[in-house]
Subunit: 339 residues, 2 copies
DNA sequence: TAAATTCGTGCAATCGATTGCAGGCTTTAT
DNA sequence: ATAAAGCCTGCAATCGATTGCACGAATTTA
């Protein structure tokens, strides 16, 4: 890389001290310099295509203008919208995002955390879902500013942004009940993941209120293959156990589709399926997936706002933002089959 | 953020100069310090949980250990795998990736480029597809190290990593020809995007070789909605014009599905559809999509390798890496309908 | 044994910004 | 007219590392 023009270069050409150049180019300090000088220096800086060295500035100001965004896996389609939401706010405020993937692995997460700290990130947006509090506690002990997104955060010392999972689950179950379903399976994710346990609890509560007969099975991960395996196992044991499945997320629901197909069952004629997230392309599945739509982009936006407020010491923002979700009814849910 | 322990802190506790600490902790320079001292300092540094300040180091060494990754849009599902491939290599070599989205907008791309330069990135991985050379030329003029990924790069001064699009298109057309198709439509992306124009040319060549009757229509973007709009228009004009469609990518193919459904046509009974990329979940579309599978993760891996070699001045690597692609036959392609 | 190396460590400059302090020059107030 | 206040600008320290150079001590060589 060719070396770029520095403050000193501009200063020399303008015949002034670097400090004057620095003050002239900075919004907050230009008042300390005469209008004429500011104008002259701005012009010269423009001509020389000066642009500040963020690294040098960061060293002096102890602010890197960089935010670490910790997600489990970017190839899970709910995360790109969150990241883009985060980015949209960060960029407009001059920050950049350093996105890292943990693959839900604590060891990797630790290494990534260290790497982010070495890079002097100004804060963290955490979208990983482990209920394990120790990691979060560690961050907090080190005085790290952070916001949690898309994960429950009760008892945790950070603000959070989540979708209204309980309301979403309730809406889904009401929809199934209205279609006449009485026996419903919840295919839950592993309870160590916070979204999984929240949705699982919501399922139990709502189902009881609606008087539904329920079963719950747990998948070992929030993935298509884990969903397929768990559902295959369930169907082998209880071929006619339920008329509907509420999955912990859309990936699990997709796994359910695969399992049902393998068992020769049709959706929704034999069994209805509902997912959660309304992830991209869920409308294009076969059949299109009834699911609870969560506002991932907005979640990213709000979490970035919260974090920046925290960093810049603005008024204390709400500790917890819950965004509304909506049930999107598509082909995969239908009336309970007639006997 | 609480301030972290610095070299000076360790030095004071060890009763030595910072330079000795620095040399002791660095792989390449520890030979300059006595074994005993190294051991003692390492121990103290460990106890004090010292970890280097990348910003300060970067200022001095003029290396930020950061790479800019420029993509059009992270929510396009082919990019997350590329990014993760890039990341897997970068992380293992101590680099971090700063991923930015241009939305195919030149103005935004310029602003992001400037921002990346200010952050002193050591190099760029460019996955945006504009055939526009000016931007790339500008990068090169500024002495920026870069690698292009998933885009044609002939006449451009940077190495590149691409899938073998021509072979993929050929395989797809041979498959259609074998199924008896004679009249095939190519739904191309906008020619300003390099992948679109490469595939379009490959289509024309292969089709001629196979003796197919062809039509080509261009969508205004590589997106589902652009594909749907273009295909609707085509079907309105030529209801029975072709028996198969080869789309420029999977998103366009999905748009074709939508348009066909709207026109009451079945896939593949009435019209076969083939996509390109084998993006995640294309196997779950309705019907599952026959498509050309491109190794996106590996493309990310190879591009990161190429870039690091370039940065670290290793042996000149090949200028262009072409990775093999494979046709994945699924439900959306079938025999030509009988009259 | 003396000279020449080698070894281990410290000193101080450097990377490119920001910023407290000081001082010269105007301007305003008395 | 003179003191007080304000306005500009420069000097120099600082952020936390890396690294060329120097120098005394230890080791090798002749």
């Amino acid at each position: 890389m060719r070396s770029r023009t520095t403050l000193a270069d501009v200063a020399k050409r303008a015949g002034v001290n670097v400090s004057t150049v620095s003050r002239s180019l900075n919004q907050e300090t230009e008042g300390q310099v005469s209008k004429a000088t500011v104008k002259k220096i701005r012009k010269i800086a423009d001509e020389m295509a000066y642009s500040p060295n963020t690294v040098a500035r960061g060293l002096r100001t102890r602010k890197s203008m960089t935010i670490g965004v910790i997600v489990p896996d970017l190839t899970n389609p709910i995360f790109p919208p969150i990241v883009r939401g985060v980015d949209s706010i960060l960029f407009s405020r001059g920050y950049s995002a350093l996105v890292v993937n943990t693959d839900n692995n604590a060891e990797i997460e630790n290494a990534l955390f260290d790497s982010l700290m070495e890079r002097q990130v100004d804060g963290l947006i955490i979208a990983t879902g482990h209920t394990e509090r120790s990691m979060i506690a560690k961050y907090h002990n080190q005085g790290v500013k952070a916001v949690l997104v898309n994960r429950e955060a009760s008892g945790v010392p950070y603000p959070s942004v989540i979708g209204d999972d309980a309301a979403g689950i309730a809406a889904a179950l009401e929809h199934l009940a209205a279609l006449g379903h009485k026996k419903v399976l919840h295919l839950a994710g592993p309870t160590v993941l916070s979204t999984a346990s929240v949705r699982s609890n919501a399922f139990t509560n709502s189902a009881k209120r609606l008087g539904l007969i329920t079963k719950v099975v747990k998948a070992t991960a929030l993935s298509v293959s884990a969903g397929e395996i768990a559902m295959n196992k369930f169907l082998d044991a209880n071929p006619k156990g339920v008329t509907a499945v509420l999955a912990g997320n859309d990936l699990l629901a997709l796994g359910v589709f695969h399992a049902l197909r393998k068992h020769g069952l049709r959706t929704p004629q034999d069994i209805s399926v509902i997912g959660f997230n309304n992830m991209p392309f869920s409308e294009d599945f076969n059949p299109s997936l009834t699911t609870v739509s969560a506002p991932h982009f907005e979640m990213g936006v709000e979490s970035a706002r919260l974090l920046i407020n925290q960093i810049e010491g603005k008024v204390t923002s709400p500790r917890k933002i819950t965004l509304p979700v909506t049930l999107v009814i598509r082909e995969s849910s239908g009336p309970v089959p007639k006997r």
